[in-house]
Structure formats: structure tokens, C-alpha cells
Symmetry: C2
Subunit: 215 residues, 2 copies
Amino acid sequence: LPELLQSVLKENDTKARELRARFQNAGVFVVSIVSGPGAGKTALLEKTLAALQPHSRVAALVGDLATEFDSERLARTGAQVRQILTGTVCHLDAEMVDTALEGWKLDELDYLFIENVGNLVCPAAYDLGEDARVVLLSVTQGEDKPLKYAPIFHGSDLAMVSKADLAHAVEFDFSAVRRNIAAVSPGVPILVVSAKTGLGMDHWFAMLAARSVTI
Amino acid sequence: LPELLQSVLKENDTKARELRARFQNAGVFVVSIVSGPGAGKTALLEKTLAALQPHSRVAALVGDLATEFDSERLARTGAQVRQILTGTVCHLDAEMVDTALEGWKLDELDYLFIENVGNLVCPAAYDLGEDARVVLLSVTQGEDKPLKYAPIFHGSDLAMVSKADLAHAVEFDFSAVRRNIAAVSPGVPILVVSAKTGLGMDHWFAMLAARSVTI
């Protein structure tokens, strides 16, 4: 299995490189979002698409095993949205992204968001050609998760601590989570947000305007 | 890959059948617990082991990619606990369980709990020889998750809705989650719990005493 997996990953890397070149040529800034189930990826994207839409051309691809709920929810913002259904596959890959983009004119887009399947393990090894990968961890999931799911935190360009409005209710320890993220991904920027209250969202929108997830 | 996966699953099924026969001969009731990251598997087990320990012989296996936090936390209850580290593998399999059990006298145990890796996708297809599989969904993860992660809800014998103490803060819709669980797994029992406040925990302990997860 490891050998086969290596050849699958190698093939994915080749396809991801092609995608990355296409995205750069088209001038579209591509952000992928990963997290476990229910950390708030769709809520974050909903607010993000709505904020960008008035002055930018925005699209999103949304991965799930099943259901079109997320794409329907995001399409209400007015952005172009497509759902990728993976069946039993626990992550997106570059080939799925490539197929889903068919017919879209990338050079008419400013931003493309890719919401991965809710999973803190499988998506880690699959490059999707994105400019930046954002990992979301909700305060309700616990401060220890970066250490337990190190590869995905290590492989992300920005760590967002989401659902900050619930931090008090779950007695969340922000310094512990900062320590744990820094331990597996030294120097990665950390942004605390709440899509519900808006906390941190202006900072996030400013990053997107600057086309960079550095703080 | 599908063919290889089928042969992997077939091998796992054979090993799981052997385990199930050993568990039954030894008279140990085996419960596995699955969920996404941070739904409260370890908190549930912590309370469960502490409640059973005084009058039963209890052990637990705990799966994680990395870190021994969960086994250390559970060992404080006095139960026998072993950590299974999976590295990059997103689920436990029957072989890992078999290896982890080495040296334990199963006929001296009343209960064995198996906490899977935090993942709502990968563990679904892997029988571990358990008597009952319990899937946990926390109220903070959202009512739609049973429809999105149907196989794991379909393959479980009991669905627990956890962190009920946060239901009000997240405006959780219990009838929606009941409807969604019933849609993918008709007739599966549903138990609402909070390890923090104790809600539903007596019902859970009564199930364990009866060695059955039916309500």
C-alpha cells in the first residue's frame, strides 16, 4: 500500500503543479480550507464570499462525501459555486479540482476558495495547487488537536481558531492552543475568528485583499 | 485502488471475526467509539471508566495519529489503558487492535472500550470485532453531519449527541438531528448526553450494565 500511495501522491503533485501554473497565469488567488467536521468552514466561507462579492469576482468549490447543502448555502451569496461529491473518499485531490473547474474562465476570477471534505487527517498530503491552505480548529474541539493532527497543521499556511464566541463556555485556553500550533508548525500565523460575532473577520478580509495569509 | 481496498477490507473482516469470537469466549463486552476530532470521545470514556471501575474490570484502547495524552488521561481512572499510534493512518483496524491486546487476559475483563482515531470517514468500513459501535456527534458540529457522513452513522449501533450543555449557545435543533440520523440509519437509538453536566449519562451506564446499546 505505501508504494501505491506514493505513486498516487506523485501523480497528484504533478496535477497540482499544473493547476498552480494555471491559477497564476489567470491571476486568481486560490485558498483551500481544511478542518474536521463542524469546525465552521462553510460559515466562514459564507461570510467571506458575501464580503468579497460586491467588488471582486469570487468562486468556490465545496467537497463533501454526500449532499449539496454547502454549495446551495454558498451559492446564495451570489458567487459561482460547485459541489464536488467524493463518495467514500476522505479528501479532495488535484484531479477532482481540475474536473470541477471545467468550463469556468479562471482569468475572469479574482478569488477561488476550495472547501475540503471535513477531515483533519486525509487532506494533509494532497496539494490542490492552492496559493494558501488554511486550517480551521474550533474552540469546541480542544486545545490538544494540533499535536494530535500535526501533519495538517504543519502543512497549512494559516491556522484559524474558529467559533471564538464559544470560548468562554468551553473554558478554552488560547495560550495552550498557540503553544501547540507553534510546536507542530513554528511561525505559522494564527488568527482567532468568530463568523457569528465577526471577531477577527476584518483581519481575514484584509489578508485576502493583500492576497497573502501572513499577519 | 478499489480492488486493493477490497482485499484490505476482506482481510480486516477475517481478523475482526476472530477477535469477535475471542471477545465472546472471554465474556468481555466490547464497545468502539467513533467521531470527528473534538466531539468528546475521551471525556465520555473518562466518565464511563470512572463509573464502571469500582464494580467492574475495565480496559480501553485509544487510537490517535500521535501523542499519548488520551491514554494518560484515561489511565488516571485506574482502568488498564493502552495507546495505539497510527502514524498517518486515519482509522484503527482489527490487526492493530489484536496487536494492542497482546498480554492482556481478556477473560479477566468485563468491558473493553476502543476509542478510534478522530475521523468521521475512514473508520466506517473497518470492523474491529466490537459488540457495539457508538458514533458521537457534538451539538457544536451541526445537525447536518449525519447526512454528510452517512456511512459511519449507518454503520453504528447507537448515535450519541454529545456536549448537550452547549446546545443553547449554538441554537442546536434536536428534532433536525433526530430526523437526519433516522434518514441515514432508520431505527438506530439516539442518546443525548453531556459528560460535563451528566445529562443522559445514567442512561448510558444502564445500557452498559445491560450489555446492550438498545434504548
